[in-house]
């Protein structure tokens, strides 16, 4: 075969195409594999039952409760900070060295590995501030982790609100804050929710940062000072300590379904926002 441009192109397409196929296969395999092994285990009593014998038998209800509680707490802490930061950056100040530094800080924070968040949360919240392994310590740590995502998506959403809405609002005698909360935030809401949802997805799947800050107690939490075990942590312990492969698969399936549906919801909202704009 001669190496003329046509043949090179054919070869390139073949190579690139197989690489793409390989990628997609690998990623899809993971989901299909986990669901195939895990779905048979998933049933109502598994989802609502208490674990027995360290999770060897019984259900995962406390872990679901732990995941929900921790995620809700993290979002409640991070959303106001993230949205506030985005509002400040877009509406209250001009592009300057300061905004560049703040954005760079958020980008760096986004790149920090979760184990570092775990170490930090462990030393500051758990140890120095004496929160112990608790919902509160875990929620604070996760909040810092998801903060950059919320800042970024909110900023994008706010920038997408037409300038003319701001002009109209100011011309009708609105102050800056009135314009923000009556016009800008309502119009940016789908984008903000997208960011929050992405944060929820990240919180649900997180293990390293959670295990050192929220602990792994299998009891139902009664207050934010109680330790909790999330689904991800429960799954990790089941799998790693070889407690029960079957229940590990079941937990993994529940976890994947939860994370993917949350992310799917986020994408759906983002698309709806884009569609509305065009």
């Amino acid at each position: 075969m001669k190496l003329d441009p046509k043949n090179t192109q054919r070869a390139a397409v073949a190579v690139l195409g197989s690489a793409t196929l390989l990628t997609l296969t690998a990623l899809i395999f993971i989901i299909v594999f986990v669901l195939e092994k895990g779905l048979p285990v998933l049933n109502w009593s598994f989802l609502t039952g208490a674990p027995q014998d360290m999770g060897r038998a019984g259900g995962i209800f406390p872990a679901i409760a732990g995941s929900v509680a921790l995620t809700v707490l993290a979002v409640l802490l991070a959303a106001p900070l993230g949205v506030g930061t985005a509002v400040y950056l877009t509406e209250y100040t001009r592009e300057s060295r300061l905004t560049a530094i703040i954005r760079f800080g958020a980008d760096c924070l986004a790149g920090i590995p979760s184990i570092i968040f775990g170490l930090f949360g462990f030393i500051l919240f758990v140890t120095i501030l004496k929160m112990g392994w608790s919902l509160l310590a875990g929620g604070l740590t996760l909040a810092l982790m998801i903060l950059p995502t919320i800042i970024r998506t909110t900023e994008e959403a706010i920038k997408a609100v037409p300038l003319s809405y701001r002009e109209v609002s100011y011309s009708l005698g609105a102050t800056r804050w009135q314009t923000v909360y009556k016009v800008i935030l309502p119009n940016a809401l789908p984008g903000i929710l997208t960011g929050v949802m992405l944060g929820v997805g990240r919180s649900l799947g997180e293990t390293a940062a959670v295990i050192f800050t929220a602990g792994s107690s299998l009891r139902m939490p009664a207050s934010i000072f109680d330790s909790v075990r999330t689904m991800a942590v429960h799954f990790y312990l089941l799998a790693r300590e070889g407690i029960s492969a079957e229940n590990a698969y079941g937990t993994a399936a529940a976890l994947i379904i939860a994370v993917l549906s949350v992310n799917l919801l986020a994408y759906w909202m983002m698309n709806r926002m884009v569609a509305k704009r065009t």
């Binding site: 441009p5 980008d107 790149g111 184990i115 570092i116 775990g118 050192f212 991800a232 949350v262 994408y267």
Partner: protein, 285 residues
């Protein structure tokens, strides 16, 4: 009425705007203040370049972990970068846009699969495969590289696609009009124009690989030694922290924070490079 509340809001938002930056600084300060004194006391060279990690005996050399992290990461990049960039090129240049618009978000969605799940697949599927066909214990450097290589694919593909799409259409059309094939155009026009974005995606993915913990713990076997081959078990920096943090006290705990300092510095260097590379691109426009 609004004047005072307006002032309050403005101050409040200004304070809030520093949350991410303060969090970053706080994390840096705490990790460094817990770890750096140890490094000085124990000796920088002794800590980084000694192969003795034996907390009971007061030996804290992390050289094996540094080497292992390096190898696992390089292995992951060797797998993930070509696959990811190839996928991005294929999806942007050789596939109808409508198909790309379905596949790209699907791949991004997969970035949300929790790392413990990747690790579990590594243990259940990949490690036995390696053990049976290539030898060794299965839980190994190679297993870690492959799993990490897959984990970073969505990052590389997504950012690379964005930067390839940002190349002005006119560049491409100009080349095609001169009779170049699509592949020639990709190689000579599109890829060079998108190169800083692609580079940034690879650097970011590298940061993710260096920092990944749970998946790595599950599949690499975690022995503290300098690997002689890809089939041997290794322990990375992150794994070292996660495995021993639960029970470490005193010097031992400080040594783990010192490990965190090393990790933190590496990650920050990668972050800076990625944002530098990105800025280069903006500057050229």
């Amino acid at each position: 009425m609004p004047v005072t509340s307006e002032k309050i809001m403005q101050r409040l938002l200004l304070a809030v705007a520093f949350s991410a930056l303060s969090a970053l600084l706080l994390i840096a300060v705490f990790i460094i203040s817990q770890g750096l004194p140890f490094i000085f006391r124990y000796g920088f060279r002794e800590f980084l370049f000694s192969s003795q990690w034996n907390p009971q005996a007061g030996k804290f050399g992390i050289f094996p972990m540094v080497v292992s992290t390096l190898w696992v990461t390089l292995g992951a990049m060797a797998i993930g970068a070509p696959l990811g960039v190839a996928g991005a090129v294929f999806l942007t240049e050789f596939v109808p846009r409508t198909v790309m618009r379905i596949i790209k978000p699907s791949i991004e969605l997969l970035a949300g699969i929790p790392s413990v799940v990747y690790g579990f697949i590594g243990v259940m599927v990949l490690a036995p495969l390696i053990r049976d066909h290539l030898g060794g214990p299965g839980l190994s450097l190679l297993a870690g590289s492959i799993i990490l290589g897959i984990m970073i694919l969505p990052t590389i593909i997504s950012i690379s696609i964005d930067s390839i799409m940002a190349v002005p259409k006119s560049y491409r059309e100009g080349s095609l009009a001169l009779g170049a094939t699509v592949w020639q155009t990709v190689r000579m026009v599109t890829l060079p124009a998108a190169r800083s974005g692609i580079a940034a995606s690879i650097i970011l993915a590298m940061g993710r690989a260096v920092g990944e913990t749970m998946a790595v713990i599950m599949v690499t076997g975690n022995s503290v030694k300098i690997p002689g081959s890809a089939l041997e078990p290794v322990r990375t920096l992150t794994a070292n922290i996660a495995l021993e943090m639960g029970y470490a006290t005193g010097m031992h705990r400080q040594a783990l924070f010192a490990t965190g300092v090393v990790l933190f510095v590496v990650i920050m260097i990668l972050n800076f490079s990625a944002s530098y590379v990105m800025r280069q691109r903006k500057a050229r426009r």
